[in-house]
């Protein structure tokens, strides 16, 4: 079930909100858990037993670990890590591994291994990382383990952030898991609803419109893909992925806020970044933080120097690329960003700083665009072909013929992203996003704006796919 579907928006969500708000406070976790299980089961009923089994096993393993010291504590830690990484490796990467092994065997004239492809449980990348963060935080002594299985299940399976994040660290919502009644206010619910509506609009109005054109451009073959098309296509994709992903995060954060949770922010005007280092402080922030705290720092972090630091940085990003998808182009994408992060440390960031704000932003954006080519393409060969077309300046610029809706929404997206570089706008955003109270006048504005956005977004969601012929065509 996706948030931008008729089923979720006009059936699941109103039913859940009514059930949740009418449930007595002490039973609300149960209601939220039941709804979350239903949400997950709708999309992937076959995986529910597997996921539940792993959650139950992890819960008791971590609780057992919390009561141990020294060696046994470490063993429990590694058991939990192995369980989680093992599940992720099996479900997400085994097909990739076998495909590559078979390619290698074929290259040496060997017979391929027979293998039944494994299906991927929805959201496994996200909830695996959440489970790992819980395990490690408890191991490090920073947090006490949850006493009730129900609360742990709710932490992992809570439907707003289950499928696509943000990756919520246990420490970030530990207190609100067990008692969030001070935060379940009309103010928070209004703010949360508005945030949800903003996210929905970003997804259905901006991301989907730009994505349709990006898909068309990336499907072009040979000479059909011109220099101009290639640039417009990748710019469209850059906004599509941003508005899609950040829109989803907004919806998750908004829904969480309506329930009294405070999920972490996941994006901070990433296309206003002035270096790749800056970009990764603004893009998928919860993933970057996770990688930093659970991978980069344990590898040595900034405490090591020279070659080892750069190798660690690059390795973390290779792993990050692989986390995004089981294909070589994702790995290369991660490595591409890792290289620029190393370059930033060596010389690039100071060079960009000297160039000034706007040139630094422009250059960083172009680097990110080439990275998105790797991310979006079906494979490395296609990615190289696409990038080559982007560099084919000899073709000259010829404005591609796309619809007025595309150009208008592209302009709106560019203005929204560009305005994020303005200090005043950033400060206003931060102030608004951190609010948990609103005055009566503000509440009126939020109510009207939410209502209008809901209707407009519902129209897009319900109308999606309805494109009739004037007459029946034989």
């Amino acid at each position: 079930m996706v948030f931008s579907s008729t089923l979720f928006l006009l059936y699941f969500l109103p039913a859940f909100l009514a059930a949740y708000l009418l449930t007595p406070v002490r039973y609300r976790n149960g209601t939220a858990l039941f709804a979350s299980l239903l949400f997950y089961a709708w999309g992937a009923p076959g995986f529910v037993p597997v996921v539940m089994l792993s959650l139950v096993a992890d819960f008791y393993l971590v609780r057992h670990m919390a009561g141990q010291e020294g060696g046994p504590r470490r063993v429990s830690l590694w058991l939990s890590v192995a369980l989680n990484i093992g599940m992720l490796a099996y479900f997400k990467y085994s097909n990739f591994f076998i495909d590559n092994l078979n390619a290698l065997l074929a290259a040496f004239g060997g017979a391929p291994m027979s293998w039944t492809e494994v299906a991927l449980p929805i959201g496994i990348s996200f909830f695996t990382f959440q489970k790992l963060s819980y395990t490690v935080d408890v191991y490090r002594g920073g947090e006490r383990p949850l006493q009730r299985l129900r609360d742990y299940l709710l932490y992992i399976m809570l439907f707003p952030q289950l499928i696509a994040g943000p990756i919520v660290r246990y420490s970030e919502i530990a207190d609100r898991l067990t008692d969030r009644s001070p935060y379940e206010t009309a103010d928070n619910r209004l703010l949360g609803l508005f945030r949800f509506c903003i996210g929905l609009a970003r997804k259905v109005w901006v991301a989907n419109t730009l994505g349709a054109v990006a898909d068309d451009v990336f499907a072009l073959q040979g000479d059909e893909l011109t220099f101009s098309n290639a640039w417009v296509g990748i710019v469209a994709y850059s906004f599509q992925i941003y508005f899609d992903f950040s829109g989803y995060s907004d919806m998750a954060i908004g829904l969480g806020q309506m329930m009294g949770f405070r999920f972490p922010e996941n994006f901070n005007n990433p296309y206003a970044a002035r270096s790749i280092t800056d970009f990764w402080r603004r893009w998928h922030i919860t993933l970057s933080n996770w990688m930093r705290d659970y991978l980069y720092i344990p590898l040595g972090g900034n405490r090591v120097g020279g070659f080892r630091l750069y190798a660690n940085l690059w390795a973390v990003f290779l792993f990050s690329g692989l986390w995004h998808g089981a294909a070589w182009n994702f790995v290369v994408w991660g490595g591409f960003h890792g290289l620029f992060l190393v370059a930033d440390r060596l010389f690039l960031r100071s060079l960009l700083q000297r160039m000034g704000r706007v040139p630094a932003m422009a250059i960083t954006y172009v680097i990110v665009l080439f990275g998105w080519v790797l991310f979006r393409s079906e494979n490395l060969v296609d990615a190289l072909g696409y990038a080559a077309r982007m560099l084919d300046f000899g073709q000259g610029w010829q404005c591609p013929q796309f619809g007025t809706d595309f150009w208008a929404i592209l302009a709106v997206a560019a203005i929204i992203c560009g305005s994020g570089s303005i200090g005043r706008v950033q400060r206003w955003q931060e102030k608004f996003l951190l609010r948990e109270e609103v005055g009566l006048r503000g509440a009126v504005l939020l109510s009207i704006a939410s209502g209008m956005l809901l209707v407009l977004c519902a129209s897009m969601v319900v109308a999606d796919g309805f494109n009739p012929f004037i007459y029946f065509r034989f």
């Binding site: 006009l10 007025t404 009566l440 809901l454 009739p468 012929f469 007459y471 034989f474």
Partner: protein, 376 residues
């Protein structure tokens, strides 16, 4: 007190989420029907396999979308936003041209020759038709090819910029006309007739919001057809007097594109003319069978088949057979072609420009096989 107000302000937008569900269950308000043709989703079939594979969920969601309360209103809202903000029609193959002229992309392609099927294909087709024409004449049936005018060829200046392109060397219409003249195929060129009238016609031959010729234009086409058929049969048909009614409320197909766009608000209205025919009842009324596209409906429903002609049948796209009382609800493939065709003095094959590439929807081949290839 303030908190109570905030709870109410929260409840208002949340109530909007409940409205479609309430409408679906309790029919709170009448919904405007949606126009145009789209295939309904197949029913979601529940099996354990389909549940586990996710197929059931997908099919169920699609079906649910079509049953959602206020769906028509929400679709119209989406369509209106796209039309008002971006000049985009959310209907298949429809484009919004300059000055609000609504056009079908296929007609624009036909105008530029982008759908040209090739000289060889057209020559083969026209040779078959010529042979069929000659064979049918020996049986006493006149086969006539009618070129109906496509809207786009009358308003090329209205094409949106992104659909303009260089004219191709050949169009299906121009090449077929040339072949008809060379081979001696009997034709009635209503497209040329309309072009000749375009600058002098008192009333619109095409409406802004319609795909077809206007109802007024269709009546003029009827008059012209009657005149040319009479000359061909050497027996004049009824003369037709026209009484003109003016209206800003579109009738018949004069706003079929606009309706198919499913907007919230009506488009600005032009004054349209409706020519009410009066038949002299003094002329010959031939039995006539027409094979045609949707342009023929304007003639079929407005006196051509049962006033100007006699027992006029209409094989719509060579698939559906109309009227019911003549063909007893059968489709064309259930009829005996030879028997049905030979009942008629005239066999009319009428096509508009974008349909020319479809060679009469298989009718030319089927009839040629029946009359010219098959042994009786």
């Amino acid at each position: 007190m303030e908190n109570r107000w905030k709870m109410m302000l929260l409840a208002l937008p949340l109530a909007l989420l409940w409205l479609p569900w309430a409408q679906q269950c309790f029919r709170l308000a009448d919904e405007w029907p949606l126009h145009g043709h789209s295939e309904p989703s197949p029913a979601a079939e529940f099996t354990w396999e389909s549940l586990l594979s996710g197929d059931f969920a997908q099919a169920f969601e699609q079906q649910l979308k079509e049953l959602t309360g206020f769906r028509a209103h929400l679709i119209r809202l989406r369509n209106q936003v796209y039309f008002s903000l971006f000049d985009i029609a959310k209907a298949n193959a429809v484009v919004v041209g300059k000055e609000g002229m609504l056009l079908d992309v296929e007609y624009i392609d036909a105008y530029y020759g982008s759908d040209f099927v090739g000289q060889d294909s057209l020559l083969r087709t026209m040779l078959r038709w010529k042979e069929l024409q000659d064979t049918l004449l020996r049986h006493g049936t006149h086969a006539v090819l009618v070129f109906a005018p496509g809207k786009a060829s009358f308003f090329p200046e209205s094409f949106p910029e992104h659909l303009r392109r260089p004219q191709r060397p050949h169009t299906n219409y121009a090449f077929m006309r040339h072949l008809c003249d060379s081979l001696g195929v009997t034709t009635i060129d209503l497209k040329a007739h309309f072009h000749a009238m375009a600058d002098t016609s008192r009333y619109p031959l095409f409406t802004r919001g319609g795909i077809h010729w206007s109802e007024y234009g269709a009546t003029l086409a009827q008059v012209q057809l009657g005149s040319e058929l009479g000359a061909m049969l050497q027996r004049p048909l009824d003369s037709i007097g026209l009484r003109i009614e003016l209206s800003t409320v579109p009738r018949g197909t004069d706003d079929d594109i606009e309706r198919g766009m499913n907007l919230l608000f009506k488009l600005p209205r032009d004054t349209l003319a409706y020519a009410i025919p009066a038949y002299s009842k003094t002329g010959h009324a031939p039995t006539l069978l027409a094979i045609g596209d949707s342009y023929y409906w304007n003639l079929f429903l407005n006196g051509f088949r049962d006033r100007l002609c006699r027992h006029g049948g209409f094989w719509y796209y060579f698939r559906e057979a109309h009227p019911n009382e003549v063909f007893q609800g059968r489709n064309v493939d259930q009829l005996t072609l030879r028997e049905e065709v030979l009942k008629n003095e005239v066999l009319l094959l009428m096509m508009t420009e974008p349909q020319l590439r479809r060679f009469g929807w298989g009718s030319i081949e089927a009839l040629h096989t029946e009359f010219c290839t098959k042994k009786p």
